[in-house]
């Protein structure tokens, strides 16, 4: 009887794992099935690198460079804001804060990760954008800058929490070694502890990058939405994700526009897949050390 239970439990877990993999493979398969046919009609190079996204014109054009650059700029902006805030918090929690403060600060920062992205978007639209518009005397506050700020704050908990784990995992003996050689506390943190936690910190940044570039709701709501290469940080942008979300409703199943959105999805998938792969490799390297 017990061995029967054992076997059936094993079978159930096996089936659930298999189901998950099959579902994921199915998603990837359909992504490629719907998206690849576009490249029969549109050159891959011109899809990636020309700058004219007019999918609904009589003679449609599918140059996604403006969307790609929109995604990249907003994501880089998010990292510019998220990395210092996240790393700073991680260093504070792991190295500076005393017991009580530590116990409070870490869960609070991790709580930020639990806020739904649409709430971030709402906040950006209702409070941040008007503020940015006033401060910088702009026509609209819905732009790259606002989107970067909101996305940056969104990825802070990822970077802070993972980096904090990495820093806390550096053995006490490393800190002692550094201090005993006459380093100050700051030198100990920057010359001994952070280098020892490097792979974990890089992993956290890559994960933050993946989160930011894949985020849809915030950029849809806050980045402005014009399909042009942003000329400066106060220009409007239309990242890949919000393009897919905004335009999918207008398409006819199977037409070029429909296919082009799947092609954008393939691109997005490729970017996040490669990022995750690199993250895995970074961690793998660490576990072998």
């Amino acid at each position: 009887m017990r061995s029967y239970k054992e076997k059936s439990f094993q079978a159930i877990t096996y089936i659930t794992a298999l189901t998950t993999i099959v579902l994921l493979m199915g998603i990837i398969y359909s992504l490629f099935r719907e998206g690849i046919p576009l490249f029969g009609k549109v050159d891959v190079r011109s899809f990636l690198f020309t700058n004219s996204w007019y999918p609904t014109h009589a003679e449609p054009e599918f140059g996604a460079w403006a969307l790609i650059s929109g995604s990249l700029i907003v994501t880089v902006g998010a990292l510019v804001i998220g990395i210092p805030l996240g790393l700073g918090s991680a260093i504070f929690i792991s190295e500076i804060a005393s017991g009580r403060m530590k116990e409070i600060a870490k869960p609070v920062i991790e709580l930020l990760a639990g806020i739904p992205s649409v709430v971030y978007g709402l906040f950006g639209m209702a409070f941040l954008a008007p503020l940015i518009r006033q401060w910088f005397h702009l026509d609209t506050g819905l732009n790259v800058f606002s989107a970067s700020v909101i996305l940056g704050v969104m990825i802070v908990p990822i970077i802070a929490s993972m980096s904090e784990d990495a820093l806390s995992n550096v053995p006490k003996s490393i800190r002692e070694a550094s201090l005993a050689l006459g380093s100050t506390k700051i030198e100990c943190i920057f010359k001994a502890v952070i280098p020892a936690a490097r792979s974990g910190i890089i992993g956290s940044i890559l994960l933050g990058f993946g989160r930011a570039i894949g985020e849809t709701m915030v950029v849809l709501m806050v980045s402005g939405g014009s399909a042009q290469i942003p000329r400066n940080i106060f220009a409007s942008a239309r990242p890949l994700t919000s393009t897919i979300a905004a335009e999918m409703g207008e398409t006819v199943m199977g037409d070029l526009h429909y296919q082009s959105l799947f092609a954008l999805a393939i691109l997005l998938f490729a970017i996040t897949f490669i990022t995750n792969l690199i993250t895995e490799l970074v961690f793998l390297k660490r576990s072998f050390r």
Binding site: S173, A177, L179, A180, L181, R289
Partner: protein, 252 residues
């Protein structure tokens, strides 16, 4: 007459309400090896860590009395702890190299002081590695990771790293307890060589080791310095019954 390098005067230490060290008066003599022995938990390592103020890291530590390094009271209010720690090097129980290259491990103390040229650092690293008897084993791979070295080599790297700061005193906290007998023998021999230029204070659980390498022996028991004197004297005619009992293995 030998000069003392470090003198403690009525040193008392508390961790919170726990009175750990009681009225310790100990001298560490210049260019000699002093061994501290005693049962686990008797305060040897705590006393050792007073000499480079590593106990400062433990919250609620309170110290009374003085520790003089030469003419300076290292617990005087305006003391620059980093300078004390550069002058009083320390090697820990478990080898703790940084996950950096061999070169950067040894250069660490010099690099953070920021007053040495690249050229100086290079020659000091080489000197220190030679002084720690590691140079011949690593000279061809200075820039590979220190983590790839064997335990004994790592411990000698830690000694080299401490020596690079040109310390006056070297504190060794059970430096061989994590090592195999061969590596242990090498570090013991190294201590005898190093004492030509630096005063050494070594905490050890290994009584035979204390007998082999030390000039002076301090026996500690329950936070008190029970006996201190020349090693031959302490080992042959212990002045205190507790010392005799410990040395003969009645307790430990």
């Amino acid at each position: 007459m030998v000069n003392s390098r470090i003198n403690t005067e009525n040193l008392n230490l508390w961790f919170g309400k726990n009175h750990v060290l009681h009225d310790v008066n100990l001298s560490i003599y210049d260019k000699k090896v002093t061994a501290m022995i005693g049962p686990s938990g008797c305060g040897k390592s705590t006393l050792l860590r007073c000499f480079n103020r590593m106990n400062d890291l433990i919250p609620e530590t309170r110290i009374e009395g003085r520790i003089m390094l030469g003419e300076k009271d290292i617990y005087a209010p305006k003391t620059d702890i980093t300078k004390i720690r550069a002058k009083v090097g320390m090697v820990f129980q478990k080898p703790n190299p940084f996950p950096k290259s061999i070169f950067n491990n040894v250069a660490f103390g010099l690099a953070i002081q920021g007053k040495y040229s690249k050229c100086d650092i290079h020659s000091r690293v080489e000197e220190s590695l030679k002084a720690a008897w590691l140079w011949d084993e690593v000279k061809d791979r200075l820039h590979s990771s220190a983590m790839a070295l064997s335990g004994g080599q790592q411990q000698r790297l830690c000694i080299a790293r401490a020596l690079a700061n040109s310390p006056e005193v070297l504190l060794l906290d059970e430096p061989t307890s994590a090592l195999d007998p061969q590596s242990t023998a090498k570090i013991e021999e190294l201590c005898l060589e190093l004492k030509k230029s630096v005063s050494i204070l070594i905490v050890t659980h290994n009584i035979a080791q204390a007998g082999r390498i030390s000039d002076y022996t301090a026996f500690m028991y329950l936070g008190q310095l029970v006996e201190f004197g020349k090693t031959e004297a302490v080992f042959t005619v212990p002045g205190d019954k507790r010392t005799e009992a410990y040395l003969t293995g009645v307790f430990g």
